[in-house]
Amino acid sequence: MGANIYKNKKLIWVFLLPAFLFMLVYLYYPFVQNILNSFRHIKYMGTAGGDWNSPWYINYTKLWADPKMRIALKNTGITIAATILGQVGIALLLSLLVSNIKAGSGFFRTVYFFPIVISATALGLLFNLVFLYDKGMVNQFLQFAGYLDRESNELIDWKSKHAMFTMLMPVIWQYVGFYFVILLTGLSGIPSELYEAATIDGGSKWQQVRFITLPLLRNSIGTCVILAVTGALKVFDLPWTMFVNGMSNTWLTGTYMYSKVYSDVDYASAIAVVIVLIGVILSALVNRIFRQNDDYQV
């Protein structure tokens, strides 16, 4: 009888409508509206777009010339590179190591994933204390270890001297576990016969990783890189908690957009459009690089 039972379609819209209505009203419609807004003059947050800007693309030329936007773009670029190398890199290393051990892999999985469920706001606050100038965790630790002089109370001002590092470290740290789990799942899909064959042929551990694991993991790594790129563009809570209002020139496209949202609404809309564009272009690019060869499908 097969699909016979699904013949009566009269009422399927009752099931579909609520979910898609939500998305229509809260995602698709505002998304289009936002693009239009970026070409219009909006007086206050919460009012409708008025006249078209003249020229209509002025927000985008303003963006091009805005030094803060340049900083934000540069920092976002650094963030994307750091998340790809840092998050996916560390996650790859950890997952390769965990796939080699038998006891305790469940424990590491649970522990590594834990920071992801904590709110980035709480983590921002926590890392403010970790990197605190006067007796924060890192400075105190460095004093104990003898790297900083304890007698003269030598300290490092992390948040102004090493602002980008201080901001990115927790961002990277938080999500390593996420990519770790994805890569571990990918690794478990590689048949063990391949490794056995390689061992018989005299392949070293490193050669196995280089010629079996990495090529077969290509798709999983590609997924991780896309997620890292889009994730880096979304990051907001943690930088905002640690560096309010782009303190020490730590603007990111997201935080800069928020800072303009009440003072220059249509300009903020234009920044949001740029964020979307960067995301779409970079995802397409990463897709190209990692998915061109179907032979590697795991």
């Binding site: 699904y6 009203v25 590594y112 469920v117 606050l125 605190l132 007796k135 740290w173 563009l233 809570d237």
Partner: protein, 284 residues
């Protein structure tokens, strides 16, 4: 069977434990310092809060100055409603998209995947205006303000949830639904009596994910919960952070207060949580 532990394995465990330490230690450090007064924190933040250095002063002052319980209540109302609504609505849509063939299905699938691509930045301004027109933003009623956070968050989780649930419903055998059909069950009865209960594991995953996402989402809360009585826990924490600048004890204890409920839930449900947060991401 005894095996000699090779130096290679020892190194692997050492390295893995080192990373585990970085995820455990900062939180343990925070909990530890929340029980110490300012002086002790300043003197040695690594010392355990035992004996005379143990103090509950930080917690007392936080509970006195901020309405933590009220913020928890608001958070649970918001995130609980979001999770429940997402489970209900996404499940129904996923069922139809999985089992029925109809015109326009391809378009809906396309919209579904597109729904995962919109960052919140690109929708928030028009959403705020729309909700302002409806009168649920900056309203004197707490319920309305909470609703103004709930609605966009439901939409934000919807496509993710539908995609995860579709993946699960696809693996269910159709025989049960056929039997129900022969018994004369309508589409509603088939879904709510047969399919919905079978989807429980996946529903739990989606529910937890939506709940946590909503609970932790500072950005939306910053737009819609602007006064004290409307604060949820994340925005409260953000405000404590800006007000208590150098009162480290208070900061440690508020971080601890926010993290502990999540930690407890995580200890019991980490399997579902890890699955929920990665499955959808990989599929999308």
């Amino acid at each position: 069977m005894k095996k000699k532990i090779s130096p290679g394995y020892t190194l692997i465990y050492l390295f893995l434990s080192l990373w585990a330490l970085t995820t455990i230690f900062p939180l343990a450090w925070s909990v530890m310092n929340s029980f110490k007064d300012k002086k002790t924190i300043y003197h040695n933040s690594f010392a355990l809060p035992v004996g005379s250095t143990f103090s509950l002063e930080n917690y007392r002052s936080i509970f006195e100055n901020y309405d933590i319980l009220h913020a928890y209540r608001n958070s649970f109302i918001i995130s609980g409603t979001v999770a429940a609504a997402v489970i209900l609505l996404a499940g129904m849509a996923a069922y139809i998209l999985c089992r029925y063939q109809f015109s326009g299905k391809r378009l809906l699938n396309l919209l579904l995947y597109a729904g995962m691509m919109f960052p919140i930045y690109s929708t928030i301004i028009p959403v705020l205006r729309m909700q302002a027109v409806w009168g649920i933003v900056n309203s004197p009623s707490v319920g309305k303000n909470l609703l103004s956070v709930i609605l966009p968050q439901i939409a934000g989780n919807m496509s993710f949830a539908i995609i995860v649930l579709m993946g699960y419903i696809r693996t269910l055998p159709v025989e049960l639904e056929e039997a129900a059909f022969l018994e004369g069950c309508s589409m509603f009865q088939t879904y709510f009596r047969i399919v919905f209960p079978l989807c429980k594991p996946s529903m739990v995953t989606v529910g937890i994910f939506s709940f946590l996402w909503s609970y932790n989402d500072l950005f939306t809360q910053m737009f819609f919960l602007r006064t004290k009585e409307n604060w949820a826990i994340t925005i409260l924490l953000n405000n404590i952070a800006s007000k208590e600048g150098v009162n480290y004890g208070a900061l440690f204890s508020s971080v601890t207060l926010i993290v502990i409920p999540v930690l407890i839930v995580y200890i019991f449900l980490n399997k579902y949580i890890i699955k929920g947060m990665t499955v959808g991401a990989v599929k999308g």
